[in-house]
């Protein structure tokens, strides 16, 4: 199911045919990158071991996709719709609370 967009955002209709391409490929809907789910690119996903996690937030700081956020208990989780599985969070996590696990078929 498609997530509802933030207020004021319009979901763009992507061009199909060559004559539907806007001049210069200009995009007139700001912030629409979030409608493109990069999560499908990943081959592995991060899994947190909350017993080891000290809530330092380094994973949140280093995530290049900006898809890691704390949950209600203050433990971190990745939004798998956008996580590309790069593993930078696991690499930076010095208490070794994050492991990268293979995607299931």
């Amino acid at each position: 199911m498609k997530k509802p967009l933030k207020k004021g955002l319009r979901r763009p209709s992507w061009p199909e045919k060559w004559h539907e391409v806007t001049p210069g490929c200009m995009v007139f809907t700001p912030g629409n990158a979030r409608t493109y789910k990069t999560g499908s690119w990943k081959a592995r996903h991060p899994v947190w071991n909350d017993e080891k996690c000290i809530k330092c937030g380094l994973c949140y700081i280093y995530c290049p996709e900006g898809c890691i956020k704390p949950n209600e208990q203050g433990f971190y989780r990745a939004d798998l719709d956008y996580c590309k599985g790069c593993g930078i969070c696991a690499h930076e996590c010095w208490p070794e609370a994050i492991t990268m696990e293979e995607e299931e078929e």
Partner: protein, 387 residues
């Protein structure tokens, strides 16, 4: 019409730009374009026009600054030559892909190495596939006229593409010619202020130069190719408009005594002037020789070229660039490929000549027509090379 003034063509090119109500010029000086850069800087710093002259550190930056300026809606101009154009190479297809109507004057010069600062077309030919409208001026008056026309062509809503005007280095840029300038009022009438399709502005955000995934890149390329092909209609329309206003007429393919000629010489740029004298001499001796001048290189005016060739038996193409290890000079190779499927087509003789500032005189054109007659094979030949 204003009275004629004697002026160096490079200076005149900048004077023509000054008439065009530009907002930004980012020009890095390079021989033989330097007088264009210097004079335009003078014009702006003397306060003669209200524009910004960005003193950039390289040509890569000058074209990038023009792209940025054009994206926010400015009328932007740059000029370069040879190595400068080669340094711009990376940015050229980006400017056309973003549909930014930047105008560039290119003082044609040989590309290194070895270092050579004189005229030929080896700098513009490698830029052939960058998606720019590309045209050639033959004399100083055409440089003035075509500079002004270039802005109107580039910015037209049916075009929105950058234009490069080729001005033969030294052969044109450093000549002092009698020139007629249109008045400011006439230019204002011909060239209204730019109305951009979209601009970068925080009140109305747009993204330009967006990333394309494999599922849309092909469609984008087809759209760009179609835009460039379609621009010819508008170019011709604008040239006709100029002709009506100023009495000087411009066509994608110009001809001189070509009708019914058995042999045609094809030139680009300033060579056309010399070739026309050679044609007069040969016609005077009863030889059936005419001249075809390719003004528009991109989009390639194939229908106009076919019409100009008519029933000619031989077409001698003067290439001022080399495609090393290739099928011939870039112009002849292209013409051959366009005409290949035609049932009736002339024999095409390809001469590589006029490289790195070597003069091509009237006698040389006559010698090439003679040589073409004797030449048996279809391979290209370096005319005048010492053997």
């Amino acid at each position: 019409m204003g009275k004629r003034v004697g002026m160096e063509v490079a200076i005149a090119a900048s004077e023509a730009v000054a008439l065009c109500n530009i907002d930004v010029a980012a020009v890095y000086p390079i021989t033989p374009q330097s007088h264009m850069a210097e004079h335009l800087a003078d014009i702006i710093h003397d306060g003669r026009i209200d524009a910004e002259f960005i003193t950039v550190e390289s040509e890569h930056s000058s074209i990038s600054a023009c792209a940025g300026a054009s994206a926010v809606g400015a009328r932007a101009y740059t000029a370069t030559s040879s190595q400068g154009l080669m340094l711009m190479h990376e940015i050229l297809p980006i400017v056309s892909a973003m549909r930014l109507p930047v105008v560039m004057g290119n003082a044609n010069r040989a590309v290194s190495g070895p270092l050579n600062i004189w005229n030929d077309h080896t700098d513009i030919m490698p830029q052939r596939d960058s998606g720019w409208i590309c045209m050639f001026a033959e004399n100083g008056q055409e440089v003035v006229d075509m500079t002004i026309q270039s802005f109107k062509i580039a910015e037209h809503p049916d075009v929105m593409l950058p234009v490069v005007l080729n001005i033969d280095g030294f052969q044109l840029t450093h000549m002092i010619e009698p020139l007629e300038f249109p008045t400011q009022a006439q230019v204002n009438k011909f060239l209204p202020p730019r109305k951009p399709f979209a601009t970068l502005h925080p009140d109305n955000p747009v993204s330009m130069g967006c990333f394309n995934m494999p599922d849309i890149f092909t469609e984008t390329m087809k759209a760009k190719d179609t835009a460039l092909k379609n621009s010819k209609k508008t170019i011709v329309k604008i040239w006709n408009e100029w002709g009506k206003m100023f009495g000087r007429h411009y066509r994608p393919v110009e001809t001189y005594r070509a009708k019914g000629a058995e042999t045609l010489i094809l030139t680009m740029g300033s060579m056309g002037e010399t070739a026309s004298i050679a044609v007069d001499e040969m016609r005077g001796k009863g030889r059936s020789v005419g001249l075809v001048k390719l003004r528009l290189w991109r989009p390639f005016p194939v229908e106009e070229l076919r019409a100009a060739i008519g029933g000619a038996k031989t077409l001698i193409v003067m290439d001022r660039a080399v495609s090393f290890g290739g099928a011939g000079g870039p112009v002849a190779t292209e013409i051959k490929s366009f005409l290949f499927q035609d049932r009736k087509r002339p024999r095409i003789v390809d001469f590589i000549m006029g490289l790195g500032g070597r003069d091509v005189a009237v006698d040389d054109f006559i010698a090439m027509v003679d040589r073409a007659k004797k030449k048996k094979d279809e391979t290209y030949e370096f005319y005048g090379v010492r053997e």
